[in-house]
């Protein structure tokens, strides 16, 4: 009996081994190299102790990038989650018609970044469509890409692109809630808001964790559009950590990059663990 259990464990490990090897080779080992590099010089590879961390933590560009990245996540993720949930609930109630409409929300994901950038340039340029409209309305034009407005352009871009994905995830979550619970509540005289707050929301809590983590990770991908629209040095308000890493790589500042990456991993891991803990308690 004991031998069979041992053999099963061994077989299980064999199944996991290929993917584990992939993760080791492509993620864990390179990451360990990044950790090693965070304690050495960029090219000389001399041990520098915590010098790189000290340089990064006192770097004004790093401060600005961290602040903007955090601000971006703090603004975008709640908006995206609430908006996508509202649309998902609405679509879920529409039946077949809603099912068709759902696909429309996925269109932005299918548009290549280069095309999106072209549209953004047309819309947000000083002489672009949006300023043309504002000028027609006598509302005064805005330098979208070189003022604080650039941040909101980025927020809009992120939400536009990711809304459909989150809507799909919410709809999948909504589909797991049995209709019988709603029917029983209705028989007991519950109103629509009661149904939403007392049945729908609590049942969507496990999905919320996944959606939040995915939305957070997707928020890093917005850099692609930001970089293509505004280049290496965009307006201060949309200068993200990825801009900084991109520029450090160009300047061969591997030492700073490695230290920054380790710090960022620590922060992101802590955030995910915190979320996990909070969700776990609430679900319990």
């Amino acid at each position: 009996m004991y031998n069979r259990k041992k053999r099963n464990t061994f077989r299980g490990l064999l199944f996991v081994l290929p993917s584990m090897a992939g993760v080791m080779v492509f993620i864990l080992v390179p990451y360990l190299d990044v950790v090693r590099r965070s304690f050495t010089g960029a090219v000389s590879k001399r041990f520098t102790g915590f010098q790189n961390y000290s340089t990064v933590l006192t770097n004004p560009a790093f401060h600005l990038a961290c602040k903007n990245t955090a601000r971006f996540a703090a603004v975008c993720i709640p908006i995206l989650i609430v908006l996508s949930l509202a649309i998902a609930v609405f679509l879920h109630r529409q039946g077949r018609w809603g099912h068709r409409l759902k696909s429309a929300y996925l269109v932005p994901m299918a548009i290549p970044a280069a095309s999106v950038v072209l549209i953004w340039r047309l819309v947000f340029d000083n002489h672009g469509l949006l300023n043309g409209l504002l000028s027609w309305l006598h509302a005064g034009t805005v330098n979208w890409m070189n003022t604080g407005a650039a941040f909101w352009v980025l927020v809009f871009s992120y939400i536009w692109k990711n809304l459909g994905y989150d809507v799909i995830l919410w709809i999948a979550g909504l589909g797991t809630i049995p209709e019988s619970i709603y029917e029983a509540a209705r028989v007991d005289g519950a109103g629509e808001w009661d149904l939403f707050f007392r049945i729908t929301l609590p049942n969507l809590f496990p999905a919320l964790y996944t959606i939040t983590v995915l939305s957070f990770l997707n928020s890093f991908k917005v850099f692609r559009e930001a970089y293509l629209v505004a280049g290496n040095y965009p307006d201060d308000s949309m200068y993200l950590l990825q801009h900084l890493y991109n520029n450090w790589f160009r300047d061969l500042s591997m030492d700073k990059m490695a230290a920054g990456a380790v710090l960022m991993t620590v922060v992101v891991s802590l955030l995910v663990l915190l979320l996990q803990k909070a969700w776990g308690r609430d679900v319990e």
Binding site: V43, N143, N146, D235, D236, R250
Partner: protein
């Protein structure tokens, strides 16, 4: 038991397979180690003393070689012959070609020889007012009879079309080419055109006669015609693709010679020579085989224009050309089976952009080190959409992977950053050695001096200059404010007239940036906001004096890609000559272009033009270029050091357009040397139309000794490099141009520029 046996068999088979694979690998390794032997090696053939300028080289019917040359000091023509291309003996022309009889109109005489010894003498004269050329022809027979011919090509009366080349076929027939490269067979007795080879009416890039064939390279194909029948041969796609690829966008090599030369092989195949090397294409073959790698020979030298190619009896090749537009060269390429097919050593040189100066250095280095192949890697070729940023990232990845270059040309790269990261070797000793032997402009070599050491040294430089009437130059050369004041004053006294030749906002900002940016840096390493504000203010004042609206903004191209576009002063000086402007300013980087500055003075005698450095603030700035350094990761320190010596050496500095080299000896040599192959002071001429529509003939002459000395003292007064960092220059150009065009306010532009620069500096 049975199962166990199976397992063992499978394991044994796997083991055998693994062993076979390993043994296969080692065999391959062994094969790899066996060096392939055999390569064409280059040998420069010394021409006969006094041969001077090589006008024609011909392989005679009896296999001997004959050269027609011109003595540059006396202007006399000579003929030399040789059996093998080694020993040249002076011969005699059938008639005295130096007599006035062949040049009754006092024009320039060109001589071309047929394999049977006949000579075609062509006298070219230019009309004083229209600059239109007209030719007079004399065919000199082997027995000394001279037949005067009149050759008229289509369009000669209507659009001034004329003959610009003469050649003979192996059978002695006469052919001429015109301005459109159309090839004509001419009757030697009457001068009438017998056959026309026009490439089907499309644009012809090169046309030539070889053996019994003529080859025409058009924009889209290579056409071969049989000379006797005049019929085209079947188009050869393989040949077309390779020839067009080798030519790129060039129609001519340096000095106006064709970019490719053709030579009919004895087996019916075709050889062609170009800067890439010599290729062979068998008749109907499926490949063009490179038999001589141009990179390993002088063919890759960008200042060599190749004019003739022959294959000799023993299979070796003779290629004649003109180096630097003045020195005739003759090379023999002989197959040596004892020389490795590729050189033993390889030196990798990386540059973001291709520099002709660098190519010259590589060619010279290659010649001195035949056992080394210099692999030039160009990051931004303009052919694949790779940007400077992309190229730098790829370079960094290679450096981190231990596959970085040995030598780096750091124009457009973050030099200070690389120095800080110990990526560059200290090359102070190399520079000191050159300083000792040749002397160097110290302000140029020390441009990137860090802690008393030199890690990156510019090989050449440009200098911002201004030319205009004496009063203007005196009052405006010292600061941008003075320049703007003067431009506005001139505008007020000349309402509606042009003060500056048409410049886009980006072009204006670029020129002023070179003159002013050296003053922007502050002690703490930051950039002064006030300096940027003042720069934009003055640039705006100058920009607003223009009388014509820009037809369309020329997109700003990051400065590192514009090395060839930096020598801009000559372009703006043309406005002074034509009356389209009163002031011309820009950067100057070559002695040949300085000749335009001094020639403009002579041309506009009444305007009393003056030239001076365009500087601003306390700094006299220059623009460093071809900034060379050795990667600290190189495993070939000595070889890399020798290459840097070549780049900074006097030989490289005296090539091409005589750029302003950091090497003083090169500079002094250029001042003393003859600039024209025929020894004349005039080195070129331009015909331009004035504002009133009058054709102006603008002769460009070598500057006088006085001007040369003055230039030397001006260059010696320089002290600071302009900002040469694209991350700083780019926002200034982009936001500045937007401000000049009225798309944003001054404060917004300054704020945007400073925000981007500060972010970059903070990183």
């Amino acid at each position: 038991m049975k199962q166990n046996t199976k397992k063992w068999i499978v394991l044994a088979m796997a083991g055998v397979m693994a062993l076979m694979t390993l043994s296969g690998c080692s065999k391959a390794e062994k094969e790899k180690k066996e060096t392939a032997m055999g390569r064409y090696t280059e040998e420069e053939i010394k021409l006969a003393k006094g041969a001077g300028y090589l006008m024609d080289l011909q392989q005679m019917a009896d296999g001997t070689l004959r050269i027609i040359s011109m003595d540059t000091s006396s202007g006399e023509y000579q003929v030399y012959s040789s059996d093998d291309g080694e020993d040249w003996k002076q011969g005699e022309f059938p008639v005295n070609v130096n007599s006035e009889e062949l040049r009754p109109n006092g024009g320039e005489l060109y001589l071309n020889m047929a394999p049977d010894g006949e000579i075609m003498a062509r006298e070219t004269c230019y009309d004083d007012t229209t600059m239109a050329a007209s030719n007079y022809y004399h065919l000199i027979g082997t027995d000394g009879t001279v037949t005067d011919l009149t050759v008229s090509v289509p369009g000669s009366e209507k659009d001034g079309n004329e003959v610009n080349g003469v050649m003979f076929s192996d059978s002695g027939k006469l052919y001429v080419t015109d301005y459109h490269n159309v090839l004509y067979e001419v009757d030697k007795t009457t001068g009438t055109i017998v056959k026309t080879f026009d490439g089907g009416g499309g644009g012809i890039r090169v046309s030539t006669v070889t053996g019994s064939q003529c080859v025409l390279v058009t924009d889209s194909q290579v056409l071969c015609y049989d000379l006797e029948s005049g019929e085209p041969e079947k188009p050869d796609k393989v040949l077309t693709d390779q020839v067009l690829k080798s030519m790129g966008d060039k129609n001519n090599s340096y000095g106006g010679f064709p970019a490719v030369l053709f030579e009919k092989g004895r087996d019916g195949g075709l050889f062609y020579g170009c800067a890439d090397g010599v290729y062979y294409h068998a008749d109907g073959g499926s490949v063009c085989e490179q038999i001589i790698n141009g990179q390993l020979t002088s063919l890759a030298n960008p200042t060599l224009g190749i004019s003739k190619m022959f294959q000799l009896e023993d299979g070796s090749f003779l290629i004649a050309g003109l180096e630097n537009g003045e020195t005739s060269k003759l090379f023999r390429y002989t197959y040596d089976e004892k020389t490795p097919a590729v050189p033993d050593k390889e030196l990798t040189v990386y540059s973001l952009e291709d520099h002709s100066y660098l190519r010259q250095a590589i060619s010279l280095f290659q010649k001195a080190h035949p056992d080394t192949f210099v692999n030039l890697e160009v990051g931004v070729t303009g052919e694949d959409g790779v940007t400077r940023e992309d190229a730098l990232r790829t370079l960094n990845t290679n450096i981190l992977a231990g596959k970085g270059p040995d030598v780096m040309i750091m124009d457009g790269m973050p030099i200070d950053n690389y120095i800080q990261k110990d990526m560059l070797m200290d090359i102070t000793d190399i520079v000191q050695k050159i300083k000792k032997s040749d002397g160097m402009f110290e302000y140029v070599t020390d441009a990137y001096k860090t802690d008393g050491k030199l890690y990156a040294v510019p090989a050449k430089f440009y200098v911002p200059m201004i030319e205009g009437d004496g009063d203007t130059v005196m009052k405006s050369a010292g600061s941008l404010t003075d320049l703007a004041d003067r431009v506005e004053t001139l505008q007020a006294s000349n309402p509606g007239g042009n003060i500056l030749q048409s410049m886009s906002a980006e072009e204006l900002l670029k020129e002023l940036f070179y003159a002013d940016s050296a003053n922007w840096g502050q002690k703490d390493g930051s950039i002064s906001e006030d300096a940027v504000r003042d720069f934009l203010t003055q640039a705006d004042r100058i920009y607003n004096t223009r009388t014509q609206e820009e037809t369309g903004g020329s997109a700003y191209v990051s400065n590192f890609t514009t090395d060839s576009a930096r020598d801009t002063l000559t372009q703006y000086i043309m406005g002074l000559v034509t009356g389209e402007g009163k002031i011309g300013f820009g950067t100057l980087g070559a002695m040949v272009n300085f000749a335009t500055v001094t020639s403009a003075q002579e041309q506009m005698e009444q305007a009393e033009l003056e030239y001076a450095l365009l500087d601003s603030g306390n700094k006299k700035s220059f623009v460093p270029s071809v900034i060379v350094g050795i990667s600290s990761g190189t495993k070939q320190e000595d070889l890399a050091g020798s290459f840097v010596e070549t780049v900074l050496g006097s030989d490289t500095g005296t090539q091409g357009d005589y750029v302003f080299s950091a090497n003083k000896k090169a500079f002094d040599t250029v001042k003393k040397m003859q600039w024209n192959a025929n020894g004349a002071d005039e080195i070129g001429g331009i015909a331009i139309t004035s504002e009133e529509g009058v054709l102006i003939e603008f002769a460009i002459k070598k500057p006088s000794q006085k001007d040369m000395d003055r230039l030397t003292s001006l260059l010696e007064s320089l002290d600071s490099p302009c900002i040469n960092d694209a991350a700083i220059q780019d926002p200034v150009m982009e936001q500045g141009a937007s401000y000049l065009r009225g798309e944003q306010s001054l404060e917004d532009a300054v704020s945007n520029i400073m925000q981007k620069i500060n972010l970059y500096l903070d990183e």
